[in-house]
Symmetry: C2
């Protein structure tokens, strides 16, 4: 290797309008360059305490066990599932896109017997479908995706599904990766037992931390396990000993990412949940209207549409890869293609957190118009 092979880090400046990561606020980037302190330093433990309080505010919960797992959003999913599952447990998973599939796949690694409730990608469930299915068997939990990142669909009727789950002795586990921070997620009001998310979407922090919250009901299940959690790194009772006094060593926390998440959560707190959700909605509405004007109709019906992620459908005349390449190379704009069942059929356009800005919508629509007109 030559000495000069490794140049200064020099990545392009991108406008991130894909399904995440979103753009980080300059405040968050600045927080990350703060010099490190130790993971048991009293100053750092205060950062973690602030973070827990801010996460409770964000999840709208009183759950004591509310923290950020030391990994990306997928780590949040794996932590949620593996802490509850013991080998042979029956569970029910709602699959209406890629991340429902992922839940099934990860749950199976931990020895769960997975029953699936399925909908074609792009649809959502009638809550009654869950309610009927829940009655059929003694499930340990029901897992569903609140905001399906692969399709742009929002599952509604969560409170109803949670109530049915509880009535039949099951917990409700919910993936909020693409909703938390951009759309209402009301853990206590809805009765959700375990919810997880990621730092890099509507919280606009760098990827690498996965907020999670666990209800007292689910915590009891965790404490009553007969076998150890199938992994060590995500074992919530082990993590709790670090996150709460007297804070004994478990792992070396990713200090800088916590600086960033605290700052990102502080920004959410300052903006306020309602104004933040309204901003996401206003920018999404503007995007939807513009896409329709460009003859890119939305895949998801209006009442089940995420305001954080839109999925316009492509006519066969559109060269999917070419347009996205042009956006990236000519305009430095990242959007994403569809994948799985929706590959080549939709784009995924995120307006999350700091990326949800009027000027980004205007720019994207203008750029798309220029590219589509030329093509």
């Amino acid at each position: 290797m030559e000495q000069n092979r490794y140049t200064d880090l020099d990545v392009s400046y991108r406008i991130l309008l894909g399904p995440g990561p979103s753009m980080a606020s300059p405040r968050v980037l600045r927080a990350m360059s703060t010099p490190l302190v130790g993971h048991l330093d009293p100053d750092f433990l205060q950062v973690l305490e602030d973070e827990q309080n801010l996460l409770r505010f964000l999840f709208q919960t009183e759950n004591e066990l509310t923290l950020a797992i030391q990994g990306t959003g997928m780590a949040g999913m794996e932590a949620a599932l593996s802490n509850i599952i013991e080998e042979g447990d029956d569970i029910l998973v709602g699959v209406m896109g890629f991340f429902g599939e992922r839940i099934s796949e990860v749950a199976a690694r931990y020895g769960a017997n997975v029953d699936r409730l399925e909908r074609p990608w792009g649809q959502v469930f009638d809550p009654d479908e869950f309610v009927s299915k829940i009655k059929e068997k003694r499930y340990k939990f029901v897992a569903l995706v609140h905001a399906e990142t692969s399709t742009g669909a929002l599952q509604t009727g969560i409170a109803e599904i949670a109530a049915a789950a509880h009535q039949y002795g099951a917990l409700l586990i919910m993936d909020t990766v693409t909703s938390l921070g951009g759309m209402p997620v009301e853990i206590d009001a809805w009765g959700v037992d375990v919810a997880f998310s990621g730092s890099q979407k509507s919280l606009s922090c760098p990827p690498g931390l996965a907020p999670i919250t666990v209800s007292p009901r689910a915590l009891n299940v965790l404490q009553d396990r007969k076998t150890p959690v199938g992994n060590w790194y995500f074992d919530l009772l082990g993590l709790l000993k670090y996150w709460q006094a007297p804070s004994t060593y478990h792992h070396t926390a990713p200090i800088s990412l916590h600086y960033a998440l605290r700052e990102g959560l502080r920004i959410v707190y300052e903006e306020g949940l309602r104004p933040r959700f309204e901003r996401h909605r206003a920018n999404a509405e503007m995007l939807w209207a513009g896409l329709e004007d460009l003859d890119l109709p939305l895949l998801i019906s209006r009442e089940h549409r995420l305001t954080t992620l839109a999925t316009p459908q492509l006519s066969p005349a559109i060269d999917d890869a070419y347009v996205r390449q042009q956006l990236l190379n000519q305009y430095n704009i990242e959007i994403a293609g569809g994948f799985g069942q929706l590959a080549g059929k939709v784009w995924r356009i995120g307006l999350m957190g700091f990326s949800s800005r009027q000027e980004n919508v205007v720019l994207l629509l203008a750029a798309l118009e220029q590219i589509l007109r030329k093509a």
Copy 2:
């Protein structure tokens, strides 16, 4: 919650001389504040490619499967163990401190039958002990700690142990968390099959990434598994599909930490391995001499002493907690106490990466002298 409850992030400026995290270079901190790009952006995939090449340089290996796991050092340990273990495998673990214990504990979670070779904390193994034990059973692998962070001891004779393991059909897995980047780690020359480390010690990056390297021999074992890896997030064959072309989505990589790790590795590359190891040794020797002058004799004999982490023994007259509190509160210096069998008996003083500086040694010794004289 009041609006003004969450102030600007304002942590103390610390001189980090504990067992990690070490201080990050200003270059690394600056890299981290670079605006985000997407995890599939061509510019980011180039960052990952540079990182893989630099990690091969650092591990002194040609192993194709060489990357950084998206988690802290403990994630590296869990990835190494869980990818190789299938339920019921017999394995042999060398336990001469806390992290050998951890290996046993994590391996048991994945269903391994763990045989232990033990030494009191602070001692190391004669390689022959491993060689004799390896002959007794058909072990899938032998795991040992190269640099035991709880005691400051360096295990030598790795090549000999690896040769015996291979002769009897076993792999060698090695924890290099506290050696990599500060002391020689020669994966190919020694014949190590899997080694893992952390970003936050002698690489002086923030915690959150765990370098790992896997030999072709171990990769074969991985590819021949009869059951899926017991977790999803650390499944190396899944990770490899992301790290290598065509780079399909697995998880959303912690972009900023990769910016940091690439920069930290670039600093190692520019300094050169030999000069870097010599710097660590020179500063360690200065520290050792100064500690002995202060009547703080080292726990570990000179030939098995880490140059990255010293463990001076405390006389009963010394108030362990008081001295460390004074260091932190009066001088902003972090060192760590002993734990487990060594709680109250030693301190753990790290001189790792950017923290391994003559001025830090001089300051620490002067501060210790002032505190001990007053006490």
